[in-house]
Symmetry: C2
Subunit: 412 residues, 2 copies
C-alpha cells in the first residue's frame, strides 16, 4: 500500500473488505487493542460500528418515530459551488466523496430532498457523531437553565466540589458552557502527547500504554486538568469542558446522561431508533463525543431547533431556550487565526454560530460529522463522514460553501 | 460484610445502590477490569447492563412488535409446590426471591398471566440470557438443516478446515449440535483453571491475567480445544460446541450471526426491541451465551416454538424443523449422575428436553436464565435471574416443580 493514497472512493469499506468472513482474514481485521478503529482507512468501517469496539449504554427512543417524508430532488447533486480557497467550481455530488461522506440528508421545509449513503453506512446505522454530541449536551443544559436549575454565573466547584483544585473549579458554569475556560490542555489530534491523548486513555477509547498509571475514568481525569490564566477571555475548543458540563447537569438532575437524552429529546422528538452512547469503565457517558445515532435522528434534532423547539406542534425545547442557543457566543472571543474558514463566528451553548444573514448554527464533530441548521433557508443538513483528517478545517472548504449553495438552490 | 450472607431480598441491586451517583462512590462501582460484573452480588445489577461492560452488536427488531395481551392472574403467586429434595411446600411467590429472580413472565394460551420484576430489571431491560443463547443458535441451525444446507453427518472440518487439528475436527456437525463431542475441556464454573476459564479469557468476558499469551478471540480459542476419546457416545455440556456450530452456520450462510438472528427470528417474530449480542475482539458474537434481550422477546421465541413455529399465522420456523427440535436428543447419552434433577432428560439441537408427558423443553442459562415451553399446558415461561451460584442445579429444585404446578393450576 506504500505510496498509494486512498481517496474517498478507493477507501470505500466495502471495497476494502473490512471484517468480512468467518473469521475475517487477519489483514482485514479491525482491532481496538491496536487502535485500528481510530485510524484511517479502518475508520470508514469502524465509525459505523463503534459499539462493537467499546462499552455503550442505550439512549431509548419511544418506538413510535415516523420518518420524514421524502420529496427527493436529484438535481441538487448538480448544484455547483466554489470551495473556499479555490477558484474552480465543483458540484455538490463531486464534493461528497472528496470529504469521505458516509451518509448525508438534506431537509427542506420538513421534507428530505436529498439522501445519499456510502460504503457500509445505511439509514439504520448508528454512526459516531463525535463532537456533535456536545450540541445535544449543551441543549440539555439550556433546558435546565430555562427551568432555573442551572445558574450560569455560579462557580463550577459550587456544584462539583470534586473539581475545586482543577482548572475548572474557579470557572463559571457559563464559561464551561461556552468553552472560555483557561486550561492547560491541548486538543491537537495530531499530537499523541496532547491533552486529548490523555483524555482518550482515561476514557479507554484508545489502548493505554504498558505501565499506564493515569486515570481510568472520566471523573478522575477531569480532576487532573490544570488551569492557566484567566477564564472568560477567549474561546478555546477543549472537549473536557463538555464532560464537566455533563457532570453538572447529571448531578443537578440526579439522572445519568443517557436517561436525560432519552426522556428530554429521544422520546419527545420521536427519534426513529435507540442511540448508542459510549461509556468509560465506570459507566460514565462520553459526553464530549460518544453519541452514535441514526443520521435521520440527527436531522430530527436539527429540525426541532429550526422549528423553535417544536416537534409536530409539541414543545420539546421551550422557545426561549432555543432563542438563547441561537443567539450564540461572543465573536470577539473567537480566534480568527485558529479558524480561518469561520470568520466572524462564535461558539456558545456547545454550538457553533456563523452569525451570517441566514442565522446558521452548526454542530461539528471530527472527521466530518455535521449538523447544519439554516433557519432562513428552512434547511437542515445532517452528514456523517470518515475523513482521514480529524479536524473540521479539513472539510470546511468543501462543506460550508456547499451548504450555502444548497440553501440558494432550494430558495431561488 | 464478612459473615453476612445476602439473600434474594437483601441483595436487591436498588437497595445495594450499585452505580448510583455522579460519580458512584468507589465501593458502589462495578468494574469489568476487576471482573466485578461477573461476581455476586454485583451481578444483580450487571446482568441487566452487560453492554455497558463489553462490546456488543445489535440484533435488529422490525420496530413493529406488539406486546402480548395481559390477562393477569395474581392468584398464581399462591400456587404451592414441593421443591425437589424437600418435604415442605412453598408458594410460587416465595420461590421467586429464593432463586434471585430479576424478572418472570408466564404466558398461557398466548396471554401473559403472571408478570413480576425485581431490582433494576424492567420490561425494557436487555438482560443477559447466557446459555439460552444456544437455543437460538440451535434453532437457526435447524432452519438450515431443514433447507438442506447443513448435513448433520458431515465432519466439522469439511466445513471448517481450520478446526481440523482440534478436537472438533473429527466430530460430525450433528455431534456438535447435540454436544456429544469428546473434548478435553471442563465447564466447571467454580474452577478458575477449567476450560471455561480459558474460553472466557479468550472471549474477553473476564480480564486476562498479566502476561497472558493465550488466544485473543473465539476463532483462535476454538482451534486450541483438544479431543479425547470417541465422539457421539455421551452428552457432555460444553459451551464451545455452540460457538463451533455458529461458526458453521455463519460460514454456510455467509452472514454474521446477529444478522441471521435479526432476519430469521427478530424481525419475523415481531420482537419488541433490538437485542444486544456480545462480541469478542474481532467482532465475533459470543454464540455460547452472549445474547441480551427483553424478557418478553424471550417469551415470544418460546411461544413460536409452542405454536409449531408460527407467529400470528405466519410460518417463521417450518413445522418440520420444530418437530425435529421437539424430538430432543438421546436420553441414553444423558448422565444421570451429573443431572440428578433431570431424570430421563436429553440434550438435542441446543435445547434441553424433559421427555415428560407434557413434552416440555427448555433453554437454560447459568444464574437462572430460563425459557420453559410446556406444549401440553399451552404455557411458556421466561425468567431472568442473578442467582449467586452459576449452575442451573442450584435453582432447579425450586424451578422445575414450580413450572409443573403452574401448568396444573392453569389447566385444572
Amino acid at each position: 500500500m506504500a505510496g498509494k493514497v486512498l481517496d474517498g472512493v478507493t477507501s470505500d469499506p466495502v471495497t476494502m473488505g473490512w471484517m468480512v468472513g468467518a473469521p475475517p482474514p487477519p489483514e482485514k481485521r479491525i482491532l481496538a487493542a491496536r487502535a485500528d478503529h481510530m485510524r484511517f482507512p479502518m475508520i470508514r468501517w469502524s465509525y459505523s460500528n463503534m459499539r462493537s469496539f467499546t462499552p455503550t449504554v442505550r439512549v431509548a427512543a419511544s418506538g413510535h418515530g415516523v420518518p420524514f417524508p421524502r420529496n427527493l430532488r436529484p438535481d441538487l447533486g448538480a448544484v455547483r459551488f466554489t470551495p473556499l480557497g479555490s477558484d474552480t467550481e465543483i458540484s455538490f455530488e463531486q464534493s461528497l466523496t472528496r470529504v469521505f461522506t458516509d451518509g448525508i440528508l438534506v431537509l427542506h421545509k420538513g421534507e428530505v430532498v436529498f439522501e445519499r449513503w456510502f460504503g457500509i453506512t445505511t439509514p439504520e446505522t448508528r454512526h459516531i457523531a463525535f463532537s456533535v454530541t456536545k450540541s445535544f449536551v449543551g441543549t440539555l443544559a439550556e433546558l435546565l437553565i430555562g427551568e432555573g436549575r442551572i445558574d450560569l454565573g455560579a462557580r463550577v466547584d459550587s456544584v462539583i466540589p470534586e473539581l475545586a483544585s482543577s482548572g475548572f473549579g474557579s470557572a463559571t458554569i457559563g464559561q464551561v458552557h461556552d468553552m472560555t475556560t483557561a486550561l492547560d490542555y491541548s486538543e491537537d489530534y495530531a499530537d499523541p502527547n496532547s491533552g486529548i491523548g490523555a483524555y482518550s486513555a482515561a476514557l479507554g477509547l484508545t489502548p493505554r500504554p504498558t505501565g499506564y498509571t493515569g486515570p481510568h475514568n472520566l471523573w478522575d481525569y477531569l480532576r487532573t486538568v490544570p488551569g492557566t490564566g484567566a477564564h472568560g477571555e477567549r474561546f478555546v475548543y477543549r472537549t473536557p469542558n463538555t464532560d464537566v458540563l455533563a457532570w453538572i447537569i447529571t448531578r443537578i438532575e440526579g439522572k445519568p446522561l443517557h436517561q436525560m437524552l432519552s426522556e428530554r429529546l429521544w422520546q419527545p422528538l420521536g427519534m426513529l431508533g435507540d442511540a448508542d452512547l459510549m461509556v468509560d469503565e465506570v459507566g460514565t457517558p462520553f459526553a464530549g463525543g460518544g453519541l452514535n445515532l441514526r443520521l435521520e435522528d440527527l436531522l430530527r434534532f436539527g429540525e426541532a431547533l429550526r422549528n423553535d423547539g417544536q416537534n409536530n406542534g409539541v414543545v420539546v425545547i421551550p422557545e426561549a431556550d432555543v432563542a438563547r442557543i441561537r443567539r450564540g457566543g461572543k465573536p470577539a472571543h473567537f480566534d480568527p487565526v485558529a479558524y480561518p474558514h469561520l470568520p466572524g463566528w462564535s461558539y456558545g451553548s456547545q454550538w457553533w454560530h456563523a452569525h451570517d444573514n441566514h442565522g446558521a448554527l452548526t454542530g461539528r464533530g471530527i472527521h466530518g460529522q455535521t449538523l447544519w441548521i439554516d433557519p432562513q433557508a428552512e434547511m437542515v443538513i445532517a452528514r456523517f463522514g470518515s475523513h482521514p483528517i480529524a479536524t473540521s478545517s479539513a472539510n470546511d472548504p468543501l462543506s460550508i460553501p456547499a451548504w450555502r449553495a444548497l440553501a440558494d438552490a432550494l430558495n431561488p
